[in-house]
């Protein structure tokens, strides 16, 4: 992208559609710009579709615990507003701290440690309004969490990296802010963390997050004051480890987010998902310089030398997992994705159905998608 790039900045559905139709060429959708190099390297585009003007709450129904927001709304300030109602979007992706937008988080399929309890945004988005590259406006879902009318098109937008359409509005399911939170931390290597995690999960404490980073296993509990205090003590006894005080707990999770989010030093960042029992062994074999790993979710974020990325993709794939490049250091030409999935024909077919000219986000699924599909030659 150059300084002279056309930037389209819609502020509502009508201008979003105009922006989409008013440009013939290829577009990249950009929110707060917190994940510009996730996925495949962006091909040549004619304009940037900037979603930051699509900001604000459309409708918050506190009694129904649902909210619709324009897709360019940053999640962090939204959480502050919701906290006033004792509610939250149950998502703690690391880059929320840096201003990531709701639409951007959906499009990249990003999630944090609490995905263990609440799932990812695919589980929290209950509706959306989308503008396709031909100007078609598609609405699905509504302000109810239980809804099986028609295809759940919101799912297709989750993880599409802006290649299927522009999210204009997103309806989210909300959860209550728990009265109390505690974290128990136990120092251990990753292999040992997996064993300890197993004993935690086999017990009745129902943690919302279990993550290993910086040589410690962090176990987070949420609930009522009394319930959490008692469960934290049970966990501390089980793990022979302390319950962190509030400040230490916050610092530990901030540190986790910082490691997930860290860039620089010429390292590549790879996000992997593996069957949980395979995670420690595979991660240990990859030679990462920094690791956060969820032994319960099977999801890990690794810093790797650029030359190790291709082998890491292959190792993760061989173990039945998936992997994606989240940061590509300058000069790194490693593939963004692992070997193509068996679903690739369907993925390509859905892409052709919704963005027939391949106008949106060219290159994001390279090397899976060929040039033909990524746009007119």
């Amino acid at each position: 992208m150059t300084g002279s790039m056309t930037v389209l900045r819609p502020t509502g559905l009508a201008t979003a559609r105009e922006a989409m139709l008013g440009t013939a060429g290829r577009l990249v959708i950009s929110g707060a710009g917190t994940a510009p190099d996730w996925g495949g390297p962006l091909g040549a585009v004619d304009a940037v579709l900037d979603t930051t003007g699509l900001a604000g709450v459309v409708r918050h129904n506190p009694g129904d615990m649902t909210i619709s927001v324009l897709a360019g709304t940053p999640l962090r300030p939204l959480q502050d507003v919701l906290a006033g109602h004792g509610q939250r979007v149950a998502l703690d992706a690391a880059r929320v701290r840096r201003g990531a937008t709701v639409g951007g988080l959906v499009a990249t399929g990003d999630a944090g440690p609490s995905a263990l309890a609440f799932g990812t945004l695919r589980d929290l988005v209950i509706g959306a309004i989308v503008v396709l590259s031909d100007g078609t406006v598609s609405r699905s879902g509504s302000h109810v969490i239980k809804n099986v009318a028609g295809y759940d098109l919101t799912k297709l937008l989750h993880g599409c990296f802006g290649t299927l359409g522009l999210l204009v509005e997103v309806i989210l399911r909300l959860h209550p802010v728990p009265p109390a939170t505690r974290t128990v931390a136990v120092g251990c290597p990753l292999e040992g963390a997996a064993r300890l995690c197993r004993s935690v999960l086999d017990g009745p404490c129902e943690p919302v997050a279990v993550e290993w980073c910086d040589g410690r296993l962090l176990v987070r509990l949420e609930g009522t004051e009394r319930g959490v205090a008692s469960r934290a003590q049970r966990l501390a006894d089980l793990l022979a480890a302390p319950v962190l005080d509030e400040g230490d707990a916050e610092a530990a999770w901030a540190r986790h987010a910082e490691i997930v989010d860290r860039r620089g030093d010429g390292a590549a960042v790879l996000r992997v998902g593996l069957p949980p029992s395979r995670l420690p062994g595979v991660v240990a074999s990859l030679g990462a310089s920094a690791v956060t790993a969820g032994p319960a979710t099977g999801v890990a974020t690794l810093r790797l030398p650029p030359e190790a990325v291709a082998a890491a993709h292959a190792a993760v794939y061989a173990a039945g997992g998936t992997s994606m490049l989240r940061h590509r250091p300058a000069g790194c030409d490693a593939p963004a994705w692992g070997p193509p999935p068996a679903a690739l024909p369907v993925l390509a077919s859905v892409r052709r159905a919704l963005d027939p000219d391949g106008r949106l986000g060219p290159g994001r699924f390279s090397p899976w998608m060929d040039a033909d599909l990524d746009g007119p030659r």
Binding site: G12, L13, V58, R59, G63, D64, G109, A111, G119, R122, D123, T136, V137, S138, R139, S140, S142, V144, I145, K146, N147, V148, A149, G150, Y151, D152, K155, L156, H158, G159, C160, E169, P176, V177, D202, P204, G223, T224, G227, R231, R271, P276, T297, G298, V299, G321, T322, S323, M324, P341, A342, A343, P345, V346, L347, S349, V350, A353, L354, W368
Partner: protein, 524 residues
Amino acid sequence: MDPRNHAGERCRSPHQAQTRHEAGVGGPEEAEVAQTLAMCGGLGTDVVADFTAALGAGSVITDPVRLRSYECDGLTGYRQVPGLVVLPGDAGQVGAAVRLCARHGLPFVARGAGTGLSGGALPVAEGVVISLQRLRRILSVDPLDRRAVLEPGVTNLDVTRAAAPYGLYYAPDPSSQQVCTVGGNVAENSGGAHCLKYGFTTNHVLELEVVLADGSVVILGGPTGEQCGPDLRGVFVGSEGTLGIVTKITVRLLRTPESVRTLLADFGSVHAAGDTVSDIVAAGIVPAAVEMMDALAVEAVEQAVAAGYTVGTPAALVVELDGPAEEVATQFEQVRRICERRGCTRLHVATGEADRARIWKGRKAAFAAVGRISPDYFVQDGVVPRTQLGEALDRIAAMGADAGLRVANVFHAGDGNLHPLVLYDADAGEHERAEKLSREIAELCVELGGSLSGEHGIGTDKACSMPRMFGEEDLAVMRRVRAAFDPDGRCNPGKLLPTPRLCGERPGPFRPHPLEAAGGIERL
């Protein structure tokens, strides 16, 4: 085998009565009519020979009488004898059957236990029903990674049975869970009483092996929540058999909660019960289940199964909490206090597992029980935002009064999923009025900002109401997605999306979403 005998929730409808009359009752007359039907819809001998060669004679049904047992699912009002039924024995044979359908240009309908309540498994004339009843192996239960790999014909409850020795269970629990299949649950994105807290089938499926309409096999989803690319598994779940046939399913298993507590509370009005639900939610409590029944439903249930509900109470609320013992104990006390503050007239706390099972037996028997107080009924499945429950119930009562029909209400109050049962007597000529009222109730839910269906699906039943909820562009996009999976439209045609054949050239007008009308959102 008559799959209908296994239906967990079903309603008799006048169509059924009519069909019985038309066909005569038993004897040669019935066989004759069936044979005629089969000949009209039947497939050529060359086609049958191909299926027989591929699957074996024991897996191909051509006998007209046997074909008739597949003519409908749990929604018995819609009936169509299929041209052919095949019973593949494994995923490879499902693929072979689908490829033969492709070669002969035949539409096909996948079928599990046939318990669906929206006509989603209604056969297509001159089409093939692919029954998945023989694919019922649990391929693995992995207590370490907490997942199970299943064939689609495994019943919902059998997953939990297989997981129970490890202290694990499968969370989605539709009322028909003893007989309905996980494959059918995937097709319908089935919920159940506990989905307020635990979500729906879509939240518990990790990976699907799917045979597409061209016979190719793809894997959708992956081993974790981490996605690489759009969530194709997510769009497949709930697609009602219109995108392909699932042949292998990997589901998540959860640890059995340490503590479960259940209470049954009576209220002087459905409004008071509804306000109680709102207060519980506002207190930051996410119950495992919140179910409500009105006076008529309670009356029916008590006549049928004597589950300990109070006959005559205007509203009965079942609240269940589960989780770590300390949490449940604390929040259960809060719920009790809220019920009392809202003036509950009786509060019964389940004394143990047997008592709890009895309360649930009453709730889960509600549909069948209503059959005892009315010769016929329609069941609807619309959803309203929880805060609109009172308004919805008032309007439904008024609409019922206007139509001169009784409506029993049994519903998942926590997530606003109504199950109004429109009672009528076909022999008294009430059928059309009842059908209209039933449809209007579903459409009322859309008007109140909700949905036509919470868990039963659109199927054949509500396809023509889809334009009430979605605009033409919305439906056109769904058709594009459908064509991406199944370009020739041979996968369960006539379901989910309205068609001119089914609904007339111009299915009912699209009404703007209330938020659009209020200027909250815009549409071009």
